[in-house]
Symmetry: C3
Subunit: 265 residues, 3 copies
């Protein structure tokens, strides 16, 4: 039998004992669990950033992995804790939309409101449900495999729409969703939103931060020193990048910046 795997995606950072305490709770329930950090550097309180982070990573994990996602500004209120069963993976998270990108990608889903308090840590705090609810529930899920024992299925869970590209007058408009560790400005334009860019010799003007980008590259190292270019990144989205330098810093672009692509001229 393969080892049960639990992943963690949070906005807790790495300066504190918080993530360590969650891991202890998991291992006390299921000492066989393999715990994998996806990221603890989600922008604090930022549900969209959390939603994007888990969406980029979860499908690479084995069947039956349980993904804990804790970006939880409403901790201690009436917002519900959820156990979500997809086709191949499970998710444990607050009901605040942080799984919205998972809901978009997964065809069949059961979303349960976790009410089985016997799985919770006791005593329970009002401020750290990552440790007191989400960690032990994920660990019990790997141990007993009984998703129905956690609570009833619901349909009115919180889901927000991810920002979508818009096309008008031949101009495709989108937004920078994230700036990564290398300064690549990752947009919400998928390759299929701008198919002409991928053909050699298509003339286009991408505008971001008021600056024009007119070259499409197949790999980062094709860029000339100091040149910003467009490229399809590893998640299938258009990025504005530079060769061995930060495009975001050079162009003065941050998360949320508008991007437009005009073909021709």
């Amino acid at each position: 039998l393969a080892r049960p795997i639990i992943t963690l995606t949070t906005d807790f950072g790495s300066n504190d004992h918080l993530v360590g305490a969650m891991k202890g709770v998991i291992l006390k329930v299921n000492p066989d669990a393999e715990i994998i950090d996806i990221s603890h550097k989600v922008i604090p309180y930022d549900i969209l950033d959390g939603a994007l982070t888990i969406a980029q990573a979860y499908r690479y994990f084995p069947l039956r992995t349980v993904h804990i996602v804790v970006v939880d500004p409403g901790v201690g209120t009436q917002r519900r804790p959820l156990l979500v069963s997809g086709d191949q993976h499970y998710f444990v998270a607050p009901d605040n939309g942080v799984l919205s990108a998972v809901y978009e990608r997964e065809e069949r889903l059961t979303v349960r409101h976790i009410t089985a308090e016997h799985y919770f840590l006791s005593p329970m705090s009002n401020t750290f449900h990552g440790r007191d609810i989400f960690a032990p529930c994920a660990a019990w899920m790997t141990k007993n495999g009984q998703s129905a024992s956690f609570g009833d299925a619901i349909t009115d869970y919180v889901k927000f729409s991810l920002p979508k590209p818009k096309t008008a007058d031949g101009v495709v408009k989108g937004v920078v969703l994230k700036v990564d560790n290398f300064g690549n400005a990752i947009t919400n334009l998928a390759a299929e939103d701008v198919p002409q860019l991928l053909s050699a010799n298509t003339k286009f003007t991408l505008t971001v931060g008021g600056k024009p980008v007119t070259r499409f590259a197949q790999s980062y190292s094709q860029g000339e020193p100091g040149e910003a270019f467009a490229i399809i990144g590893s998640s299938g989205f258009l990025e504005v990048s530079m060769n061995r330098a930060s495009a975001a810093k050079t162009l003065g672009v941050q998360r949320g910046a508008e991007v437009s692509v005009e073909i021709g001229s």
Copy 2:
């Protein structure tokens, strides 16, 4: 048999190979060990910060977990390496007080001076006992379970008193012990030091950084935008917090800042 668990709490940061080398040493001795990072962002050389970090996390781990704690400005001197056996956990650390909060919490303890050099890495450096002494000793402890084989019990180990709240003229005075990733200013006032705050409708003035805080909240999201409030955090201590913002930054408060609480207008 459950897998042996070893946790790591250090001030090594994550930029270097140091933590990786410790993990290699552990796995070479005991390839079955499960290694869990609690934090490597203890403030460099800061024994109090290390003591608080391990104290908040260790008790969530399973029985017989071995906790390595390396905040060790005296590495290479005569300060002793220790193996500490508590009721449920083991600790491997330098004898400089970094386990003081563990000594306060654990009722029964055996503190041993590690002298069994055959467990050490050879050759041994003067500057990295995390790799050369603490990692292999923790790994051997998970392997042979023979704490007495590491050295004799001692009673004159280094222990400092954690800063305690003081009450005079109805004013409770304490200190900010830590600012966490969300900007919560965590004090050394436990819930039982200020019991009246927890009752609804008690009037009080908490003063920190020269600013008054007069509201007690049950959850972070009860705070109005821009409002600092008091709350009991997940370790049972009073925090000064804000809803989706950094109270510490907004109030200009850092670790070490004085806090006072006066009940009644």
Copy 3:
């Protein structure tokens, strides 16, 4: 049978899902693999920094550990992916010199150009071979142990010379290779390059950043407050350090700074 161990050394940082995705890919191929982070904070695109990081850590790991090293500015170009078999360890990395320090240390090596595309993730990106090539190849290597199945041995792999100390007119000249988390300025002068320093009472002047250092210490805590001193660090190289303070910051020294040591007066 001992669990297979895979280590990760990258310049991906910890803000993104990148490392998490690599771990998912590994576990999907080999759920028994134990994955250990050495560092994800290699200076972005810096092949020398990556080469030094893996060189300081790999030999502490058990026999047959597979080390993934991804500092890969040429991803998506013709640069080859490699599987390197040393006496005790395996390495998976791009053929750009990032294993140069491993090549220097290992006496017997087989370097293979990975061409067995059936091991790769499909579809494969042009921008993230850490996830699409290096992670799955490392995982398959731990699973089948058949290094020859990955591709043919080559001899024209990329190798650069690490910066070496030079001696002229009795002065030994070197360079700062790295500044660590504590502000120690680690040089490329090995203990054997400056044997006189290690004898008590040798007079010497080490110059770095235009400032003279004239004392050799056996441990960090021997330094007086504010005093910079020379010491042999845990990897056997000369460091310029201070007691509980950052020598690099105090002396205004960064990576790449020249260091000279003159014995006598």
